[in-house]
């Protein structure tokens, strides 16, 4: 738990960089500080681990006043991720991740195990990446290592300063999704700085909108979208608020569950009975033994194939199918559908199991619900 009470910080020249800011981040939640550049969000963040000292006010971490704690000790128990990553170029990936455990004098075996565990969590096979150097990685991989390094000693609190800001949009999107998945498991208390309101809405449990050193609104993302505190917030959030709300909804919440499905070993005759013209069903998803998605089959494909003999589904299935994961935001799923020109997209769960299907119609219903 992090609590700021009337925190202010003045820069030379008397300009208040941060002016009487108070908020509380409950344990296990993500609070996003967002605002135009120069609004004081980064300064606020850096006061939490005392890289900046507040001029007045108090900051509590787990009810302990941080000004009473040795700053070195404080920082070793707070993970810290910055936009420029700041990996140590002369150290291998493993050594970079091990910095804080090393400072805390963990034994070598424990450090090695922790490094491998984190690399695996970041989707980077330890055997392949452990001994590489930062410059041998892509920007997205480096940022993953930056996050892994911050979590190395398993601190309950993470501070993240525009961690995905320098990445291309596709990589950023992917890292945001990975980040949410990891957070779902680890439940860290996180303060996260960004200038991107879309990122704030997507990632935050709470969003703190700042302007000229002041905290204008501190609320849940839906509240910020639907009840902006003032004109500035409304402007900052933007006119496309309905569309932005789609970021708050996960695909599995709106998909049509139990879509028409056929086993890959089924015969064409079985397919035809499912896809008979009387049922009105023009397509079916093809799945394996564990309901894992294999592809798509359309009625006309079966009809064409059947004319030439007793075809198996396995021979005529179209395996080139785009799917989305169940906890993808509806906004991301929608842009996927638009970019591939799809009227429907299958929704898959763990191990690629087919869970449902998302259609324009289901999205339209959600939009109608938000607007009302």
């Amino acid at each position: 738990m992090i609590r700021l009470e009337h925190v202010s910080k003045a820069y030379e020249g008397g300009v208040n960089a941060v002016n009487d800011v108070s908020f509380e981040v409950p344990r296990g939640e993500i609070a996003i500080l967002v605002g135009p550049s120069g609004c004081g969000k980064t300064t606020t963040l850096k006061m939490i681990n005392r890289l900046h000292e507040p001029a007045s006010g108090k900051i509590f971490v787990d009810d302990v006043d941080t000004s009473t704690v040795d700053p070195i000790e404080l920082r070793r128990n707070i993970g810290y991720v910055i936009q420029d990553v700041g990996l140590f170029p002369h150290m291998t990936i493993a050594e970079n991740i091990a910095v804080v455990p090393h400072l805390k004098k963990w034994d070598r075996k424990r450090i090695a195990e922790r490094v491998d565990e984190l690399l695996t969590m970041m989707g980077m096979p330890p055997a392949e990446y452990r001994n590489r150097y930062p410059r041998e990685l892509s920007g997205g991989q480096r940022q993953r290592i930056g996050v892994a390094r911050a979590m190395a000693s398993d601190p309950p609190i993470l501070l993240m300063d525009e961690p995905f800001g320098a990445l291309d949009p596709i990589t950023r999107e992917r890292l945001q999704n990975e980040f949410l998945k990891i957070q779902e498991k680890l439940k860290k208390t996180i303060v996260f700085v960004t200038h991107d309101i879309d990122e704030a809405i997507k990632l935050g449990d709470k969003v703190a909108i700042m302007r000229k050193g002041r905290l204008i609104q501190y609320d849940a993302p839906s509240a910020v979208l639907n009840e902006p505190a003032d004109e500035f917030v409304a402007d900052f959030v933007g006119q496309d608020r309905t569309l932005k709300s789609l970021r708050l909804i996960r695909t599995y919440e709106v998909m049509d569950a139990d879509p028409p499905a056929l086993h890959i070993q089924a015969s064409a005759a079985e397919a035809l009975s499912l896809l008979s013209s009387s049922s009105g069903q023009k397509y079916a998803w093809v799945v394996g033994d564990a309901r894992e998605l294999k592809g798509l089959i359309a009625r006309k494909d079966v009809l064409e194939a059947d004319a030439s003999g007793d075809a198996k589904i396995a021979d005529i299935v179209n395996t080139n199918v785009v799917s989305v994961e169940r906890d993808t935001t509806v906004k991301d799923a929608l842009s996927e559908m638009l970019s591939y020109g799809l009227a429907r997209v299958p929704v898959v769960g763990p191990e690629g199991r087919l869970e449902g299907v998302l259609t324009f119609d289901s999205i339209r219903k959600v939009l109608a619900r938000i607007d009302s």
Binding site: N49, L51, P71, I72, E73, L74, R75, R76, N77, Y80, I82, Q83, D84, V85, G86, L87, F88, P89, H90, M91, T92, V99, V100, L103, Y133, P134, R135, E136, G146, R149, A150, L159
Partner: protein, 217 residues
């Protein structure tokens, strides 16, 4: 020409020459690196510009003049010669140490601070390793300059290969002159090569300038 005698002199004076360089240059390293580190600390930020300014001007003073200045101050012999070399080698060492540390990407230092490294840990585990090649480049330059400058040590009775060179000039004896000049040149090349090797051997793969085959993939 007594080749045996000349060869003996070359050996003796080369060793004397290298001792001058090693002591003078060594002192420059021992003093210059810590001085460069000191002025790179934020607390000495205002100091640094002055020191860097003076050091840059100091480097424009001809080496012969530096040796000449020592005589009225310290007299003649080995010690003033060493001191002149020390002064002359100090500047590139200080400048490169300072520049090497200051040119490190600030986000790397910030990451270190944010993770709870102490100032000393950041210096020894991050700043010095990252500035190593720049500091070594300064030391390498300083040592090579020293080999050349040490030929002037003869003028204030410091010995070294300058003895052969100036004797050859005075006697218009090309053999003696070249024996000294070529030996000094070879020493300079050897010193340069040696330090180049040390830098290459000690630079971690992650920041080595030429990418190794593993780095390419």
């Amino acid at each position: 020409m007594d080749w045996g005698l000349l060869w003996g002199e070359i050996q003796r004076l080369s060793i004397q020459h290298m001792i001058l360089v090693a002591v003078g240059g060594g002192m420059a390293i021992v003093v210059g690196v810590p001085a460069g580190i000191l002025i790179s600390r934020p607390a000495f930020g205002r100091f640094a510009q002055t020191v860097v300014g003076i050091a840059s001007v100091g480097q424009t003073v001809p080496s012969l003049a530096v040796v000449g200045i020592m005589m009225p101050l310290l007299g003649v012999g080995f010690k003033p010669a060493v001191f002149a070399l020390f002064v002359y080698a100090l500047l590139p060492v200080v400048l490169n140490t300072y520049a090497g540390i200051r040119n490190i990407d600030p986000s790397i230092i910030e990451a270190g601070r944010g993770m709870g490294m102490t100032g000393a840990q950041i210096l020894f585990k991050v700043e010095l390793p990252l500035a190593f090649s720049v500091i070594m480049a300064g030391i390498r330059t300083a040592m090579v300059i020293c080999v050349g400058t040490a030929t002037f040590a003869h003028l204030i009775g410091g010995g070294g290969l300058g003895d052969l060179i100036f004797l050859g000039i005075a006697l218009l004896d090309m053999t003696t002159l070249l024996a000294g000049a070529i030996s000094a040149a070879i020493l300079a090349v050897l010193v340069d090569f040696l330090f180049g090797r040390i830098v290459r051997a000690c630079t971690p793969r992650g920041i080595a300038p030429a990418s190794s085959p593993e780095a390419a993939k």
